[in-house]
Symmetry: C2
């Protein structure tokens, strides 16, 4: 068969590219090839083990959106791509010729070779694969004690969700703090306190040596010899880009295995795009390769690709990727945008930080009020805001976007200080003590000393 | 006595100027003169009639903040200021000589001369005066039926709060929609639906002719002759700047009665500042005088004044005031930043609007999910974002700040389209269908047609 635009993958980016692209180019034919019968909402996956109940409640409305916009879907796997003749061959043997190809092949869990996970029942990873996750959930339902290895977002979220369902969960992290790659210690410690209060057993600064048990998990042995008994182990040690097909097709990857792309998500071949977890990101501040894998980033890239498939139309007025994470544990929302203090120092910036704590409603006596802590990381000489973090109530998810937009506009503390924000008793902190602006004020006063 | 900085007024701006100023200039003496024994959180006032319970739960922590930063407070009234000799005279007869003077005298309710409110018991305004409000609340507690005249924020919020406490409330508005000066019709209608469902009787497009009753309120007569029975009437028809003292002191006012100020909140006399409701604002887009009276705006001005009292230190990198409002009725948060569609058209802009509706959590099946509607007002030829509005759940309060920061950076739709936002199932809309970005997409697709 023949199509104008062929998209491989149907997760967030694979959904956004063709639906945006089709709206802009209604006369073009768009085809998606996906291995997944139903694509999961990627960031919702940890919640199928608790709040959301099951994977069926966490399905991307992809089929509906494809249908509504007139995008064709083929449930199959692309086995090879010839970028010169512009033909893809599917597992079924069918060939699809295309004008434009988009890799949205995503990422898969890192499966560390040094750990003996291969030969045991009840060891799980967290792929974006409904069939796998359903089986995993069923098996976990029979387990009482669970060890999660790796306290990134996925590890933290799954541990909390499983604890909510009555499981005894131990979360093990090699770094001194949980979420240690995403947050500075000040925020990580707040999250640890919340998690512990909710019943998660946390072991930080601990290295796992092996998984014990013969055919079935019996526990986890740490490098200091401690053994933690467990019926199941969840390994959440990060993700790696799914780029074997691209590599086999002669598409250039970077040295970390991500597909190299230009500002408009075009690979070495301008008719072939790559978006989302499989595509290389450049850090917004340093321009260096940055292994950022977020659905929100994937969607931002997919919108740019979708708008620019046939001609460059939406022009990139700023370059690079800023990572903006947020999550919540109970009513504690927290997030980070741009660089942490630790990352900035590692990159060689001379920085100051401005921090402030307030309350996310005013008066603070309102029933749903919550402490709100804001931290800004500021380049000392220029005053430019490099990053920020929030720990507070559920409005933290959008407040971190306020900081994200400020960073992307390369605002300095002077500009952010004079920025007007809207406030309301039932929705935000007080205008006289709005922590974001108070954090800026604190940075300015330090700089002027 | 003698002081370095004399601030008149202790509401939001009168709190922020001296506390920021003192942190920057710890060696200077700061003195606040205020008529209020306890200053109210201004935007919290409607809530003392419901959620917050009483005025004592809605007190600005001013005394504490003044004390902590070393600002002296005098409970008295400034009767006259001689700007040449730099001496203020209080009602007590005491004189204070100052180096710098700051007017933070605020605003007071408009009391329309054409309406016969003067001679009747149980007619109320909504001043920022605790003694008045306490008496009003006590009297209202004995009333069953209440008419609110004027459906701006204060009128809407008080009507909802009183309804929550079991009162029968009728809200009367002259314009075709409630909140008609702040929001376009699309959002006003959503708010009307919510208010009606919560039991508020709303009459729009109705003019009040008179308040009936002899010594005590019996009702309100509309211009069409209809009489609405009521035990009390609340008149919420806006506020006017409190600038008589400034005028008497020879400070130049604009033709709407606001104190004229430069970019750094300095009046015609560079040693005299004015901040908050009493100070003139210039619209961010047109530069015209704009009667914006918001505590958040007041605080932004107060921070600039506080930092710049003795030398210009924090430089304004953009000019003008953007109004950012937000509020909530129940779990419905909504807000507006910059120009509405109606305002932009009235100013002569050729505009397009981009709108999108989504859900503020993902998957939408999460228990606290809420529809989220976003509208952007875009200048057609330049693509610059002039304004935006949100109607959704409680995160609307910070989401409108994301739009506010975008507007203040004069972002165009192209820039906002490529902006990265953070998303999370429990905190925000889905990254693939984030309404703010979908609204931008809709605007771009319209423009490219």
């Amino acid at each position: 068969m023949k199509t104008d635009v062929l998209v491989i993958g149907s997760s967030a980016a694979g959904l956004v590219v063709p639906t945006v692209g089709k709206r802009v180019n209604p006369d073009k034919k768009f085809t998606v090839v996906t291995k997944q019968n139903k694509s999961m909402i990627p960031c919702g996956i940890p919640y199928i083990f608790g709040s959301v109940g099951k994977s069926d409640n966490n399905i991307l409305p992809a089929e509906k959106m494809y249908e509504q916009t007139g995008v064709e879907v083929i449930h199959d796997e692309v086995m090879s791509v010839d970028k010169n003749t512009k033909v893809a061959v599917l597992a079924s043997g069918e060939s699809i010729s295309f004008e434009i190809l988009v890799f949205a092949t995503g990422s898969e869990p890192v499966k560390p070779k040094w750990l003996n996970w291969q030969d045991k029942e009840n060891v799980f990873f967290v792929p974006k694969d409904k069939v796998y996750l359903d089986e995993m959930q069923q098996k976990l339902s029979a387990c009482n004690s669970i060890v999660t290895i790796g306290a990134g977002f996925i590890g933290v979220e799954i541990s909390d969700e499983l604890t909510k369902t009555g499981k005894k969960v131990t979360l093990i992290e090699k770094l001194p703090n949980i979420l240690g790659l995403a947050f500075d210690k000040d925020i990580s410690e707040k999250v640890e306190a919340v998690l512990k209060e909710r019943g998660v057993n946390i072991l930080t600064g601990c290295e796992v040596k092996e998984i014990t048990g013969t055919t079935k998990v019996e526990g986890v042995k740490l490098s200091d010899g401690t053994v933690i008994a467990a019926d199941a182990v969840i390994i959440s040690m990060g993700y790696k880009p799914n780029t074997q097909l691209a590599k086999n097709s002669g598409i250039i990857l970077n040295d970390q295995g991500f597909i190299k792309v230009d500002e408009y998500m075009r690979t070495c071949d301008t008719h072939i795009f790559a978006v989302g977890d499989c595509a290389e990101k450049k850090d917004f501040v340093t321009g260096k390769s940055a292994p950022i894998m977020l659905a929100s980033t994937a969607c931002a890239e997919a919108r740019i690709a979708g708008m620019n498939l046939f001609k460059l139309s939406v022009i990139k007025t700023f370059s690079g990727t800023i990572s903006i994470f947020s999550t919540a544990i109970g009513n504690n929302g927290f997030g980070v945008a741009g660089m942490t203090e630790a990352q900035a120092i590692k990159e060689g910036f001379e920085i100051i930080t401005g921090t402030a704590e307030g309350i996310d409603r005013h008066p603070g006596s309102l029933s749903d009020s919550h402490k709100q802590y804001v931290k800004l990381v500021v380049a000392k000489d220029s005053g430019v805001i490099l990053g920020g973090a929030v720990f507070g109530g559920l409005s933290a998810g959008e407040l971190i976007n306020v900081i994200g937009v400020a960073i992307q506009n390369r605002m300095d503390i002077n500009a952010l200080f004079i920025t007007q924000v809207g406030t309301h008793p039932l929705l935000t902190a007080s205008p006289a003590a709005y922590p974001l602006i108070k954090a800026v004020e604190s940075a300015i006063i330090q700089l002027n000393k």
